[in-house]
């Protein structure tokens, strides 16, 4: 039953992304690309990942606001030309290659609903699930992984966010200073 709902939601996601690419209006493009994220968050909720679902939903809301705020007063530029023929051929060839490789990869995946770490007893996920509560004391196993076992990765993610904000501020600040000197 859950599989059918997920497939329907995936079809909605595909429709949303196609509308986002093909529409001429910038606002409806933003709203349809955000709907893709909302359907994704519902899928995460259905397959039993509430942590990711909360994060996805909240970030989608925020990015929708920021995108609308950033683009609503922009001059809308629409591209009237036809698509480049060789570019179209190249894109189709690339999509075909990825489709073939993806079908090859899907053959090696375990059946839907069976976790992949049950196939391999040496996988670290087994240790996280067995000893996670004893070793870290956190009841939420996701938090115990991202902040204790894999804390170094979280530090890297925080550093990326910090550096990107620093770069954006530095670039835009030069512009503000230049305007001040006039």
């Amino acid at each position: 039953m859950i599989e059918i709902i997920i497939i329907v939601l995936l079809i909605f996601m595909l429709i949303g992304s196609i509308i986002c690419l093909e529409t001429k209006d910038l606002l409806s493009s933003i709203i349809s690309i955000t709907s893709v994220g909302y359907f994704g968050s519902v899928i995460f909720l259905l397959i039993g990942a509430p942590d990711i679902a909360i994060t996805q939903m909240v970030v989608e809301v925020l990015s929708l606001i920021i995108l609308i705020r950033a683009t609503i007063r922009m001059d809308l530029t629409t591209i009237e030309e036809d698509r480049d023929f060789f570019g179209l051929i190249g894109t189709l060839a690339l999509i075909f290659v990825f489709f073939i490789l993806g079908m090859e990869a899907i053959r090696y995946l375990p059946k839907f609903g069976t976790p992949s770490f049950t196939l391999n007893l040496q996988a670290p996920s087994n240790r996280y699930l067995m000893n996670g509560l004893k070793e870290t004391g956190a009841v939420n196993i996701v938090t115990s992984i991202i902040l204790d076992y894999r804390g170094y990765d979280t530090l890297g993610e925080a550093t990326i966010l910090f550096t990107s904000i620093l770069g954006a501020l530095a670039i835009l600040r030069v512009y503000a200073r230049k305007r001040k000197e006039k």
């Binding site: 909240v58 925020l62 606001i65 939420n140 938090t143 902040l147 204790d148 910090f162």
Partner: protein
């Protein structure tokens, strides 16, 4: 034109006044109970940012930028990142391993207690602080910064005000 007429209509302002505290408390609970329930530092921090963005949209940017300037947001951002790094480095001091959980892990009366699992709640708080101020700054940069000027002391004024002067 006084300050009350900036921003959105009076309905939006009244509703915002009622619910902004509840949204902030929801974010706080998601951050503080990140090691017990789904959630954690990142979604909680995004909800913090969403609170301030809601106030900015409802009351106008001058209302928020007077109280919380770019400087305070960047200070909170740096403070959160620094706190996270300090917690991680203290692990070396106490037990010789980077990011080791050096505080008492289990609560004496059992699981599902707020004060448990060592450094994880502290890390959640620092990440929440960092992400919240970071995303609020993204919003400021994207929507407001084209008209921002600094008057030398870090206070922010806009072109609209400058033209009136």
């Amino acid at each position: 034109m006084n300050n009350n007429e900036k921003g959105m209509s009076i309905i939006v302002k009244t509703v915002t006044r009622w619910i902004k505290g509840f949204i902030f408390l929801f974010g706080l609970s998601i951050v503080l109970f990140g090691h017990l329930t789904p959630g954690g530092g990142f979604p909680g921090g995004v909800i913090f940012a969403a609170t301030f963005i809601l106030i900015t949209l409802a009351f106008g940017k001058e209302y928020v930028l007077k109280k919380i300037g770019k400087t305070l947001a960047s200070e909170l951002d740096s403070l959160g990142a620094l706190l996270f790094l300090i917690i991680a480095t203290l692990g070396i001091y106490f037990s010789g391993i980077f990011f080791s959980n050096f505080i008492e892990k289990t609560h004496p009366t059992g699981n599902f207690k707020l004060f448990s699992s060592g450094i994880i709640p502290l890390c959640n708080i620092s990440i929440g602080m960092k992400v919240g101020s970071c995303l609020f700054m993204i919003f400021i940069i994207v929507s407001v910064v084209r008209v921002i000027f600094e008057d030398g002391k870090g206070k922010l004024i806009t072109t609209e005000k400058k033209d009136k002067k």
